[in-house]
Symmetry: none
Subunit: 407 residues, 2 copies
């Protein structure tokens, strides 16, 4: 019996309301440059501090020791899915990030416009980093001319600069496929191939993409510098058991950025649209309190400023979050977890593997008697250092959603 | 190579004496109602405190994050068996709890007397909660009339109120079987079926139980209100490698309550009978010191008062335990672990998933330099937060029972 099967077997429905509040990239590291304080430690956070009195704390390993997750694995783990078992292809993540609605079975690819010479050799994989407007114009052209290939719908959406996304929506398609990208200049664009040659769905998708190239390349062949394109990370939307069937919880997503809405949608959460600030997100939580059992609330700015290496701005983003927190607490959920999907340390200027701090509070979370919610404090908490995929299980336990195992 | 195989390969016999002292349901949580102290923190425990000076501490996840164990999985983990791999059916646990000696291959069922109408419809699944004396009389009647079915021995033992246990001891029997219980009133008693229809042993057991019903029901059909019975959790005693073959340790069980003696017996421990108090148990440990290598000493009252939600009584039970501890220490075992099989927080009034604290002391345990043995202190210990099934391995390591792995 697998652990997931055991959890499923012990599951009981309760009327508990739960909120998972994600401060993206929250975790950080203490370095000399900032007097050995993390942004969370340096920030003034009276409302988080107050929560700690009745909370357990710990730190979470996003995937495995030393593994730095992208937003996809980071969030899948928070949603309680093993991020190694449930891998989402880059094409799918990219499409979600552009706000495209994917359906089960859709095959998605990240795409770049590129420059080729008259022998078909790629001379610039980014087509001189064309402006977004040029990319949008080229995508509009391709979209207009190629709506379908056979019975398969083709959806093309421009991203930033030379980047775009192509989605193939048809019957019996599967990924992953090899890249239509030499991954270096000076070579031709390779033909995509099934990764598993015995998969009929992959073979069909590979053939389709070959035909797509045949139709699309002539349409832009006279353009300069973007007279070709590369496809990478070609994957289909994986079959993931929905959040609702897995946990017997009706989930809502309160996120502002498309990527996080997309990841929530991937597990079947309902996207509650509208709010643009964390205060508005919390207000909307209050308004929707009776309509859902589980609320995923996503706050982007801690990650954004961590990526910039901007310590002061990350600290300020935490303080703004903290100032809005009392709105959420007007109707305190029975189980509340506040954490990040990973760390984005200012000193790293990017995502990292450092375990993110987590705070978990419920009537029966117990108190770790810590004065504040910080990385250093969380090291001392009763939750210990654990894999992020177990947070959902601890939230369920705190909601008394598991029968006793064995007599 | 599995981890168990590696442990087995590295095993060496040493003359070390080891004691695993289980304060049942020891772990608790700090809540406002008790000034944010756990019973262990509030208790006056000079002898435990003194032990900490030369001890390592940590906390143990009984089964997996968020999983609340019954006594069976809780103790199997403490005995070093993966509680998900080695699952013990409820019928077996119930039989053990009534002090029945099970043999390998025995099929056991929890049973309830019930009331049926003249159409065989169950109208009360608990037969109006008959008195224990009535239950005992009915069980005596059934026992007298049905000693064997074919070549299979039938053993019937009354429990409390309407509850009893039936054991089938014969050749080639296997569980699990489906329940002979509609699990609601207003329906007939379903015929038991093999859970795995391809299992000959399950088929044989199911047929046998069908015959048992045919013989037993007429014997009580005129009784009121208990004119029928239900069987649930029908399972056979699993094949578990004995403690002695697994660890090369001769183990003794010093427990007062039948359930814990039964669990110890399940892994082949010798039950040392007689002592009724923890002081007597420790005295008996001294007397038996030379006769065994490993002592499992079980103390029930921390769990009992936790189940009642009685903080003061749980605290007092800890203090009584502490007061008796010097008896054990007259012949200090080479390796001593003191812990719970799970938490039973007063605020939960039942078992829970919260990791229980553990104290481990030996000449080479090292000291965590903690002043006391408490949940909050144990969070800071060198053992960290780990799965309870590894405690035995740590005890063996402290007894120098493992060769170096690799050169």
């Amino acid at each position: 019996m697998s652990l997931d099967e055991l959890y499923a077997k012990l599951l009981v429905k309760t009327p508990a309301k739960m909120a998972l509040v994600v401060m993206d990239g929250l975790g950080d590291i203490a370095t000399k440059a900032n007097n050995y304080l993390t942004p969370l430690e340096a920030a003034n956070t009276p409302n988080l501090d107050k929560l700690t009195q009745d909370a357990a704390q710990g730190r979470m390993i996003p995937v495995a020791p030393g593994i730095t997750p992208g937003s996809g694995p980071g969030h899948l783990a928070l949603f309680g899915y093993d991020p190694i078992e449930f891998q989402v292809g880059r094409g799918v993540i990219e499409a979600l990030g552009l706000g495209l609605e994917l359906k089960a079975g859709d095959v998605a690819a990240r795409a770049n416009f590129c420059t080729m010479n008259d022998k078909g050799i790629v001379t610039d994989r980014r087509a001189g980093r064309i402006e977004t407007e040029v990319c949008e114009e080229l995508c509009a052209l391709l979209s207009k001319k190629i709506k379908k290939i056979g019975d398969t719908q083709v959806i093309i959406k421009a991203g930033k600069g030379h980047r775009f996304v192509v989605i193939f929506r048809g019957k019996g398609l599967e990924g992953p496929l090899t890249d239509a990208d030499p991954n270096r200049e000076g070579a031709k664009i390779p033909t995509v191939q099934p990764v598993d040659p015995s998969s009929a769905g992959q073979k069909k998708a590979a053939k389709l993409i070959g035909e797509f190239y045949k139709e699309a390349l002539p349409l832009i062949s006279k353009r300069k510098p973007a007279n070709g394109f590369l496809l990478r990370g070609i994957a289909h939307q994986p079959q993931i058991p929905t959040f609702e069937e897995r946990y017997q919880l009706k989930p809502a997503c309160l996120a502002v950025y498309p990527m996080y809405k997309g990841l929530a949608q991937l597990v079947g959460m309902t996207k509650v649209e509208g709010p643009q600030t964390i205060a508005e997100q919390f207000e909307r939580y209050l308004a929707e309190y009776n309509n859902y059992d589980f609320f995923f609330i996503h706050y982007k700015y801690t990650d954004m400023y961590g990526e910039d290496g901007n310590f002061e701005a990350k600290k300020k983003a935490i303080e703004e979050f903290d100032a809005a927190l009392p709105i959420l607490l007007k109707k305190r959920p029975d189980v509340l977890a506040i954490t990040g999907d990973h760390s984005t340390p200012c000193a790293v200027k990017g995502h990292s593997w450092h375990p993110q701090p987590v705070l978990l509070t419920s009537e029966i979370s117990g108190s770790d008697k810590l004065d504040r919610f910080t990385e250093t404090g969380a090291n001392l908490g009763s939750l210990g250092i654990f894999e992020a995929k177990y947070l959902m299980r601890l939230m369920q336990a705190n909601a008394r959603m598991f029968d006793k195992f064995g007599a």
